[in-house]
Structure formats: structure tokens, C-alpha cells
Amino acid sequence: MARLLVACRLLFAQPGLGGRERVGAQIAVAAFAVLALYPAVGSDYHLAQLRDALLLAIFALSLDYLWGRTRMLVMGHALFFGIGAYGMAIATTRLGWPTGGGLLLGIAVAASVAAAVGYFLLYAGVRLHFFAVLTMAMSLIATQIAASWSSVTGGDVGILGVPPIEFSAFGLHYSGGDGTASYYGALFLAFLTMLVLWLACRAPYGLILEAIGSNENRARTLGFNTARQLLIAFTAAAALAAFAGALFATTAGVVAPDLLGTLLSTEVMIWVAIGGRGTFIGPLLATLLVHEASQTISSLSTSLWPLLLGALFLLIVFALPDGLVSLLRRRKEA
């Protein structure tokens, strides 16, 4: 126990705030302030839209933690988001559990799947593209299972009637069915997630992940059990994705097989890539922006949006190789 405390102190000791971090922190505080004031002006529709985007931002942060720090790409990350969503839906509609139980079920199943598969693959030295493609395969399998195993998952139609989260604490009542309340809930959780991940990764723990990501062999010879570290990071990312998925299920009210599928997995990769891998605030804001932008683009022209979106991706790759955050950085440095 004492040893665990020592380890925590070693791993999560916080260094002073660096110059570049200060810029990021300012952006984060400004973004939070703007978003917190948004309900005063936004319509119900835009509020609900932004709330969903904030939940998806948690999902994006879970990938950013993994991909940005350990360079480990999960091409089927929606697998865990979907498991979280299905866990919530099955627990609340089939088993009659409260939403808290659904949250735990989704997270527990996702973390167990990640731990089992991760142990199996990571300890065998499966990395990089191999790992990425295999996770894509897992998401394909899961989509198929969700569509076929209809007695549990509702099949292709999915599960309907997932209730919103409701709870009372300290004499206050929170109701996820209320637009403004659920918006603030999502806002709080998204920024809390970002804060926690940022604090963890700016501490020495983040250095370890960075070292493993950039040169695993070297890290191993420095005494790090790299496979175990990667497994922990993978499992944590899966749990966080499931958390986001479970929350999403409560606001959407339905879950369907494509929540586990490759399209959502690709989208989350794109959000993180556009925001700038490993920057946390970048992917969070990118999720909000890209989600809104792709909604707008696809409403602008129902027939041409794939062209516009495809062009946007190419533009980002060539014009903003390090994501949106690099734009700010470049300006700062210039």
C-alpha cells in the first residue's frame, strides 16, 4: 500500500506550468467559458447537438490519450464506445437496472474485452498497423454480433427506450431529460476528462507513455514493462470510450449496431487527427467543430458532402499536418 503511494507520487508528480502549456490552458479556459455561456443564446436543437458533441469529445479524448501518447492506433475504437452504449441499453431496458448500473456494466465489459484482447495481442508483440487492423476486425465482428444476436442486442433495429440519467445529490436533482441540465452535465464531464488526462500525461507517467510510443525497445531496456503499460493504457482508453458511449445512449435513447462500427471509428480518428494528436484540448475542440461542420456541410448539400468532406481531409493532411493546435502554435512561434 505504501509502495503504491510512492509509485503514485513518482508517476503523477506535477511539474510547473510551461509556456506552451499556458497557451493551451488559456484556450481551454476560454473555450469552457464560451461553452458555459452558450445555453443563454443557443436554441434547444443546437444545445442538444452540442451536448452530443461534448460526449463524443470524451470518446475522442480516450483515443487521443492512447494514440497521441503511445502512438498505438485503434482503428476500431467505436467497438468500446458501442459496448458502453449497449451495456447501458441492455442494463436499463432488459435487466431493469438503474442508469448507474448501466454505466458500470458498459465500462466493465469494455474494459474486460480490451484487457483480454490486449493481453493476448500486446504481450505477443503485436503492434502498430497489425494492432490497428485487428481492432478494426474486432469492431466488424462486434457489429455483426450486435446485428445477429437479436435476443440480447435487439438486432439491426437496436434497443429503444434507454432512459435519461436522473439522480439526486446534496438536495439537488439532476435530470438528463432536461436539455440545459444534460448540456451542463456533458460540458462538465468533457472538461473533467480532459483535465484528468492532461494532468496525468504532463506528469512523469505521460513521459513513460511517450517513451514507449516513440521507441519501445529503448524504453524496455530502461526497465519498463512496456507491454503491461500499453495494456493498462489500452484498457483505460477502452473504459473511457465506454463511459462516453453509455452516456451517449442515455441522451440518444436508442442504440444500434453501427455505434460499434467502422464509420464511427474512422470519424473519431479524424477528430483526433484534426485536433492534433496528444494535445487533449485540440481533439476536444476539433470534435465540437468537425461535428458541427460535417452537420452543416451535409445539410448544405445532401448530394455533394462526401466530396467536400474528402477535400477537407486532404486539406488538413497537407495544410495542417499537426492538427488545429499547430495553427495556434505556429502563430505563437512566428
Binding site: E210, R220, N225
Partner: protein, 237 residues
């Protein structure tokens, strides 16, 4: 002087080539050892086996009598066998300070003992003025020092240095030799080198490898006069 590491009949094959062929020797506590040999003699392969980076096909590596044969690379480091790579293998996107801080954590978490102070190691490797420079921005020589610094953060019992002076100025080479001699007072140090003047300066026990075999083992002066060693270097063997 007790025995710390035993290399016993180690062999490693790559395709049709025996990179290491039945090599045996021991390394004592606080012993300084140089490994020399012409290109392709199997020096780096030997170091890979000694540090657990590569698993041998035959033979055994024993640390204080315990076999490490089936142990993963990180376990070697946690036992105190820490290596520096050839050609300055640093982390490009980490500052010097961050690299050192990170390097100390692995072993520290395993042993429960705090790592050495980053400032002390910075002073030892003379990079105090470069503390906030990124690994990728360091000169080749600075990276060599940084690599050594990272190994020191692991509190090594046996330090394995693969070509520590490659790309260094003459002055820095002298400094590296001094550091190696100083470190040998606290730990065992094994150095693989090409630079004969450096090896001569260390003036320690020297192992000579040739075509995967160990052909000589003794004080540098004796080894350097050995007929077989001369033949090997001149390509007559």
C-alpha cells in the same frame, strides 16, 4: 571480487550466420571490461544478449547465479543490467530533463527506491546547460552523453556501453574515458569500442571477438600483443 554476470556457451544465429558462437566469460563486481573486435565480429550481438534485447539460441546468461535466459528485456534492467545503445538512441520529442526523469522511473517503480536526482546526473554528463533541449535537437555527442545519463538514472549494477565515443570530439572522448573509470568504482562497466586509443586509455581487461568467437581475454597490453588478435584485425585469420 565476486562474480556478477556469467556468460555461458552463448550462441546466436541469424539465418546462416553464427553471430555469436559458444562464447563464455564472467564479469566481476566493479570490474571494467572492454570488448573489441573487427566489424561483424559479433560484439553488438553479444551486448544484445547480455542486456536481454535478444534471446540467445544456446547457452545461458546468469546474474548472481540466477539464469536470465527466459527473462524479458525490462527484467534485465530491473536486475541492474542497463545498456546504452549504439548510435545514440534517445527520445526525439523529450527534453534532456524529461528523458532523464522518465529513465529513472522504470527501475524505481520496480524496486521502490527513489531514482537518483536528475540534477546530479545532469552534472555528471555535463548537460546542465542543455536541460530543456529536445532530444532531436541535441548534437550527436550530446546524445551520447544523454544516453549514458539515462542509463545512470536506472542505478545500474552492470553498465553496458555500446560505442560510447562514436562521433565525439577528442576532448569529449577523454572525458568519457574518465567517466567510465570513475563509474567502475561503483559498478561493473562493459564497453564495446572501436577507438583503440580510448580502450588503451581505460587500460582494463579486454575481450577480443572475431567471427562470433571469443579469441582473447586479458589485460589490454597482453591482448594487443597477441598474435591471433593481430591476425584477426589484419584479416589474416
Amino acid at each position: 571480487m565476486g562474480t556478477l554476470l556469467e556468460i555461458e556457451q552463448v550462441g546466436k544465429r541469424y539465418g546462416g550466420i553464427m553471430a555469436i558462437d559458444g562464447v563464455s566469460f564472467t564479469i566481476g563486481e566493479r570490474e571494467l571490461v572492454c570488448v573489441i573486435g573487427p566489424n561483424g565480429a559479433g560484439k553488438s550481438s553479444l551486448l544484445n544478449v547480455m542486456s536481454g534485447t535478444v534471446r540467445p539460441d544456446q547457452g545461458d546468461v546468469r546474474f548472481r547465479g540466477r539464469s536470465l535466459r527466459s527473462q524479458p528485456a525490462h527484467a534485465f534492467a530491473n536486475h541492474g543490467i542497463v545498456r546504452k545503445f549504439q548510435g545514440a538512441n534517445v527520445f526525439p520529442w523529450m527534453t534532456v530533463t524529461d528523458s532523464l526523469r522518465m529513465a529513472g522511473l522504470g527501475v524505481a517503480l520496480h524496486s521502490g527506491r527513489a531514482p537518483p536526482a536528475v540534477e546530479d546526473v545532469l552534472a555528471t554528463i555535463k548537460l546542465g546547460h542543455q536541460a530543456h533541449r529536445l532530444g532531436s535537437m541535441c548534437s550527436h555527442g550530446q546524445r551520447q552523453w544523454l544516453e549514458v545519463g539515462m542509463t545512470l538514472m536506472c542505478r545500474p549494477r552492470i553498465l553496458l556501453l555500446d560505442e560510447p565515443t562514436a562521433g565525439m570530439t577528442a576532448v569529449a572522448t577523454v572525458e568519457m574515458a574518465e567517466l567510465a573509470l570513475r563509474l567502475a568504482a561503483e559498478m561493473s562497466v562493459v564497453v564495446i569500442e572501436h577507438d583503440m586509443s580510448f580502450v588503451r586509455r581505460l587500460g582494463c581487461r579486454t575481450l577480443v571477438m572475431h567471427q562470433g568467437r571469443l579469441i582473447a581475454d586479458g589485460p589490454f597490453d597482453a591482448v594487443s600483443h597477441d598474435e591471433r588478435v593481430r591476425d584477426a584485425y589484419l584479416g589474416r585469420a
